[in-house]
Symmetry: none
Subunit: 152 residues, 2 copies
Amino acid sequence: MARLSDIIENFIKDMIEDTEGEVEIQRNELASYFNCVPSQINYVIATRFNSERGYFVESKRGGGGHITISRMSTDKPYDYFMHIILSMGDEISQHSADIYIENFIDLNIISDSDKKLLKAAVNDNSLKSVPVFLRDRVRADILKNMLMKMII
Amino acid sequence: MARLSDIIENFIKDMIEDTEGEVEIQRNELASYFNCVPSQINYVIATRFNSERGYFVESKRGGGGHITISRMSTDKPYDYFMHIILSMGDEISQHSADIYIENFIDLNIISDSDKKLLKAAVNDNSLKSVPVFLRDRVRADILKNMLMKMII
DNA sequence: TATAATAAAGTCAGAGAAAGTCAAAGGTGA
DNA sequence: TCACCTTTGACTTTCTCTGACTTTATTATA
């Protein structure tokens, strides 16, 4: 039998479908619609609409607060990027980051201005305050995170 | 949805747009136009038209008092960027980085894909391996470094 | 010319509105 | 049975709105 979380998940997915990839919800409103506690909405979002599943979530608290869920596009570059990202190790040197980036340029899947930003973000100057033994790990995190966001 | 503060924000922004970068308002008059207490105007100004967002505010009390809001000039992106970069502290929270970035979008001086990359580079997910006490410093380094590279 | 009245804008703390967190309790399937 | 979901609710954080009180500038009056 379908759990409430599954029902809410499908409800949100239908909304996203109807609105071409992005939907804005009111947490409390949705919770009262489904007769559950508001935090269950957070649970559904955390488990079903996270970035591993190809969604991107933003929110705002306070009066007029809301939660916005958007789905990443699912055309070719998505699969390719995902493949590359998943194949990257947990640590990347500046040199090998540059190689990855140049490669994306060669393959025409990123623009020149993307390249500038990617390189700037992961060079040693950006990471000068990070202890050396951690640098390659942080560099990998940043690079992967940026690539992930490029495909949204 | 859009709260009164958002509506007032847009109203003022439209005025600034119409008058090429500077507008003079009467606090009480505006408040009565929007049917709110005068201090709400201060709230909107404090949260939406501060210098982090590229605005400059002056005012005068007493008879004939008024508030003048001016937008920093973006005619010369180089100067504008330099100004913002130099005004940034050595440590920047994720929230405040987002505000800077949103402002660049508002003022049309970065593209949407730049925004995505900037945000991705400096969010806490990218910096999850950096010890918390260092995070805001690293974030500032990355953001400044990326912005610097954008104007070269 | 002092002084009082009036006309602004500023400050700040508290109430209200919404989302976030987290750990404990409750189910479920292999 | 036991590990792994789900569900719940108390507590926290963030954002917005309000109103009483303060400060400053101008104008009218003695």
